[in-house]
């Protein structure tokens, strides 16, 4: 090892530039990977949070925002076989300016606070308490909302024209609840100026072993019979849409980073091939004094691996710093865009090691196979 480092130190400039090349590749890999990890975690957390629930939405809107459904539809949906319970929801923007920046979007979520039916029951509190049935003028907020507005338990949050007291702050979930302001259905209607029996969506929870897709079709028919045109989003549909969007996103991200890493790998290979030519005489001398083919091979491969691992570590450190800075900046808007996971760190080192191996094998073989007599003659 000492020998490898001493050899590298002879051509510091070249070694540093090669390491820089690898660092840039690994930097790109980690930063883009952290973005992909965030998206993946968001998607899987969302699936866990929403579970087996069919969203029933106003046919005029695709998302849970906007639209209007009569509260009376709840009983009809509840009566359908296979439905466990129906949870009415009211979603609306917290600040209309947010609609221009979906990444920083914080939303109002009016929920049914009946014990056993409240969606808040599956969530953990970081501070304060949960909303109680019949709560008025109180909210429980997600961690991103708390960060964005710099509010905590006991503070008042401005919700359109009203000031509402924050009674609880939720633990991070890495998905939608982080950017939601939970309140009772009545409060939500009031602040969003909605009618008395109006909601924007129903979350229909399905009995276990029930075919959710078939049930979703039944729900559409039931609503149509009531004269309410609705469409549904089934858990399978969410999974399909999210899955295909994620795989396209992951594909683009990883294709870009593979190119970056490949360029770094070629940089190492180039440096090592040059090094073998320049050090032919040294290789000849080592062979003459008893170095085996394997000794020379290990020495040159080791040098490529050291370049790759040092480059990888620098790239990783820079990526951690960059994502931390970006996250800190974006946190003001309530957004966490990059998550560096343990598996991403492992993958970065694995990529660096594989790059080092691929780049080092050919030059190391060349060095090891040099004919000592020829090598000793070289200048």
């Amino acid at each position: 090892m000492t020998q490898i480092l001493r050899s590298m130190s002879r051509r510091r400039g070249r070694a540093a530039l090669t390491i820089l090349g690898v660092s840039i590749g690994i930097f790109a890999f980690v930063v883009m990977g952290a973005l992909a990890e965030k998206m993946n975690i968001h998607a899987t957390s969302a699936q866990r949070y929403y579970g087996r629930c069919i969203w029933v939405l106003d046919n005029r809107v695709y998302i849970t925002f906007g639209g209007s459904l009569p509260m009376s539809l709840r009983k009809k949906l509840q009566a359908v076989d296979g439905v466990r319970y129906v949870s009415p929801r009211i979603f609306g923007p917290l600040d209309y300016a947010d609609l221009r920046n979906p990444l920083a979007l914080c939303a109002i979520a009016g929920v049914d606070l009946t014990p056993g039916h409240s969606p808040l029951e599956g969530l953990a509190l970081a501070r304060g308490r949960m909303l109680r049935r019949g709560a008025r003028g109180e909210v429980v907020i997600g961690c991103a909302v708390a960060r964005k507005y710099d509010k905590d338990v006991g503070d008042f949050l401005r919700v359109h024209r009203e000031k509402m007291r924050i009674v609880g702050v939720l633990e991070p979930t890495n998905t939608d609840p982080d950017s939601l302001v939970f309140m009772s259905l009545e409060d939500a209607r009031r602040v969003l100026a909605m009618e008395r029996d109006e909601v924007t969506a129903f979350a229909v929870y399905v009995e276990p072993n029930e075919d959710a897709e078939a049930l979703a079709e039944v729900l559409v028919h039931v609503a149509a019979r009531e004269g309410v045109p609705v469409h549904t989003i089934s858990p399978e549909e969410i999974q399909r849409n999210v899955g295909s969007a994620l795989s396209i996103f992951n594909g683009i991200v990883y294709a870009c980073t593979i190119i970056a890493v490949l360029v770094g790998t070629l940089g190492i290979a180039n440096t090592m091939v040059m090094s073998v030519s320049e050090r032919a005489r040294e290789i000849g001398t080592k062979k003459a004094i008893g170095a085996r083919t394997s000794d020379i091979f290990v020495e040159f491969l080791g040098e490529a691996l050291v370049i790759a691992v040092v480059g990888g570590a620098i790239g990783l450190a820079l990526a951690v710093l960059a994502t931390w800075l970006l996250n800190a900046r974006l946190a003001e808007g309530g957004v966490t865009l990059f998550i560096i996971t343990a598996r991403l760190v492992c993958a970065a080192f694995a990529v660096a090691l594989v790059a080092g191996c691929i780049a080092g094998i050919y030059p190391a073989l060349r060095a090891a196979r040099l004919d000592p007599v020829q090598a000793l003659r070289s200048v």
């Binding site: 001493r6 040294e282 080592k286 004094i289 007599v373």
Partner: protein
Amino acid sequence: MEHATSDNKLIVRARGLVKVYRLGRRNTVTALAGVDLDVPRGSFTVVMGPSGSGKSTLLNVLGCLDTPDEGTLIVDGRDVTRARRSALSDFRLRTVGFVFQQFNLLPHLTALENVMLPLNYRRPRLSAQEKRERAAAALRRVGLGHRLHHRPDELSGGEQQRVGIARAMVNEPKIILADEPTGELDTKTGAEVIEMMYELNRERGQTIILVTHDYAVGQRADQLVFMSDGRIVPRLAELEAPLAPAPPKQS
């Protein structure tokens, strides 16, 4: 590599060694054209001859850096004629020490580290402490005990060659092969280096085979071998003449 029964008094027994190099598709150069050579253990053998006569090739073949195309070579009782590469590198490590004309020291290593290099390749491995001690002892033996931590560019030519000699002997090889070890040195320093090699030969019974153009060096040797056109030739007056110092011209 096979064990060969041979006269135990001989460390090298070469018969009919032929080495042909290909230069391009058609041209070939016969570097060794049937060399027979016996080297007794503990002897000082000097090989002389004009440039291109095959001296260096002979040294490379005797040192197992190169293999002969024909003939038989027994070194230290082993037939190395057709040994595999891996066996040859092990054999070189234990049996042969090389001293080069241009010293071939690694510029980024200190004298001590250069001398430790052959010890790094030994299996089983030696401890770092033992390697340092052995290398330091070898350097002290060549009078460089005070230069252990100097890099080659901080040493004179003579000192560098002495480091080269210490490196060649640190593994206590059976033979030291020196290819024009004074070629890069001035006369005085060259003479000191040669004296040191004779000392090694006398005091430790170290077998040395040395290539040189200096006839005075050869005159002191136990065995003086002349080469011409890839063969060992008798010591002819006409071959000796150009090597001897030219008589002063008379006006």
